[in-house]
Subunit: 211 residues, 4 copies
DNA sequence: AATGAATGAGGTTTCATTCAT
DNA sequence: GATGAATGAAACCTCATTCAT
């Protein structure tokens, strides 16, 4: 009854099949998000049946965790390797940053696995974020900026907002800090930059806006 | 068992009840995420039944969208108001940044609504992110940094990573850009800072690491 | 706060408003079927609120029953009136058939209310159908019929009605046909029978009843 | 309390279980109508759980459509087979009519599935009906018919089918009648016509087709 | 007389997960 | 080692109906 043609794909050992299944899971999770695909979908995409995934990974959560760990490990290796032969802080920083983007560039799906999923309201979220980015952008445009980089203001605004968001996320887990401290931290990075900080400068408000 | 206070709350007009329901939805979504709570849960938390939410907001998606829009509107207003009387770029920037953190500080739940949800694998995600943050942190620690700000290196690392993530997100929608261009952008911000950029400086690699 | 313009439509007495509401219900039920519309839909189409319908008709089932009875009453009157001045059985039959199709022709929605979906109101539907069958039956009983087949008159009446109903269903999709043509068709079948038609005969009215 | 027989029925293959489930669905739909039963009800009657029905049939609508198609196919086969060895139009007609009623006689529930409520599956219902109408139409086209009435054959076919359907509806409430009696009744109307019946003629089969 | 507010109950559908073969 | 069969649980959504004003 069994089809002979398919036999060549069957009965692989665990060491052969498991990475294959994990790669498929990363891809499908990356494309459609955790809640956007079912175990059935992933199993079908991998060409095996659901019980195989349960046998190898235990549960959907564990499978997703395995995907995250898998991608994170690869990214970490890429970043670690990138700076191994650099001593100068500036060159080291750039090497790492470049390695990061090179990694992402070839693996958009894997990157998506590391970012949280949007869902049906992605549009709304993007709009909300866009509002803040626009505000930042208009502010940048009002400043004197080198001519050649004017087209780069949009991604720059995204980066500024992203830095603030990450600080806010960190702050959620460290509520003992004051808003003023957080704001100063953000200023230290985005105003002075690492070069300024490396030179020993510290940003401080001349006069704190009233609350 | 029935709370007398809630009895007096019955039969409110839509103008009174709808914002109340929206506030509850923001809170519950913020606490548990979109997929982490059901309409039933939200309705119960608001002290009404599901059909009220469907009557006023249409669907779970639309409710979530309304929450996002609600929070985004408030945040935007806070940011817009913050810089209204500032002309100096530095002071304006700081005013905005401070307003942002002051907004978040009082409304952690609302902030969570604007961030995507983690789910059962939040821990794993945090660990993955932590790997990259640690890498960045060790690099910062190896640099000469002003003594007083050494405790600030951890949030600084988060901010750096957050800026990169936002750039990567933006890049997903603009795949025509090269990894090198993206990396240079990141450097412009994090190395020179807005002060440097405002002074007309442009960051460029002295020598590009080989791919 | 109340809009003066709408006041002219308000506060109608029950005698004025109830038939209006019933007509709307017949139309909406006819268009979309019992399960295809909600009380909310019907109320909106009638320009009143749901509680009005509940106050006047009790429940959705009772409303549907009222619609059926309303249409059936009109149809019965049309058929009864049609044969009032005819003695010749052939002419009488044609008059009734013609009246039936003329009735349907002007009120497709009402016809649909008599044909659609059974359910909790099946009894009411059967009763409405029985009215027409009884009318046909009494006409048959008045004719000379072979003794042995007298018991067969009831199902025969059902068949006659069923043939007409099927023609009416077909007519709904071919509205370019006139009521007269439809009536002639019905006569061709039920008066001559296939034997007659097969022998080359064609039924035609000697004199068309005036509309 | 658990029935031992059903225990032995567990873990059937799809080939065995699916027809069994379909039969149950036809029965329950026939008894209670589309809106009169839930998927839960049908699943319970079949001795399985809802997800099995969704796995095999997709949705409630698709299940109902499958039921209609199932019954229609059987009916069509019965009617087609019935006339295969008849040349005489009269005998052929009777054979078909008899086959129709014989079919209905053994499967009242299946008949109800073809007659009850329209809805999202109206298309499927119309198609099923069209099959029978087409069969009748082709038979009519093979007979000698007066030239002028040839265009009327389509509605004539509808009427013939409608008369049979009405007789079948009546029969559902009078199950003491035999299929043969019902077929003779149908012939009395459609072959002799009311003119013939009025003249005292009675249609009777010269020889009853063997069952 | 009329309505906006509110709900109980039920329906379809999906999905992570397990069992028997 | 691998799978088709099967399910428990829960989610979203709708709607007939009633209550308080």
């Amino acid at each position: 009854m069994a089809n002979v043609d398919t036999v060549t794909q069957r009965r692989l050992s665990r060491e052969e099949r498991e990475p294959q299944m994990l790669d498929t899971a990363v891809r499908v999770f990356g494309e459609r998000g955790y809640h956007g695909c079912s175990m059935e979908d992933i199993a079908a995409a991998a060409g095996v049946t659901k019980p195989m995934f349960y046998a190898y990974f235990g549960s959907k959560d564990e499978l997703y965790a395995a995907c995250i760990a898998h991608v994170a490990r690869q990214l970490e290796q890429a970043l670690t390797a990138a700076g191994s032969d650099e001593d100068d802080p500036e060159r080291l920083t750039f090497a790492r940053v470049l390695a990061f983007f090179r990694f992402i560039g070839g693996r958009r799906d894997q990157w998506r696995v590391l970012r949280r999923e949007a869902g049906p309201f992605a549009e709304e979220l993007a709009r909300a974020r866009g509002t803040i980015v626009d505000l930042t952008l208009r502010q940048l445009e009002a400043s004197p900026v080198p001519a050649g980089s004017r087209a780069d203001l949009v991604p720059l605004a995204h980066a500024l907002v992203g830095a603030g968001e990450a600080l806010a996320d960190w702050w959620v887990d460290h509520p003992e800090e004051s808003a003023e401290t957080m704001a100063v931290r953000q200023m230290n990075l985005i105003w002075l930059g690492l070069e300024g900080l490396g030179a020993g400068r510290v940003w401080a408000p001349q006069q704190l806006p009233a609350e």
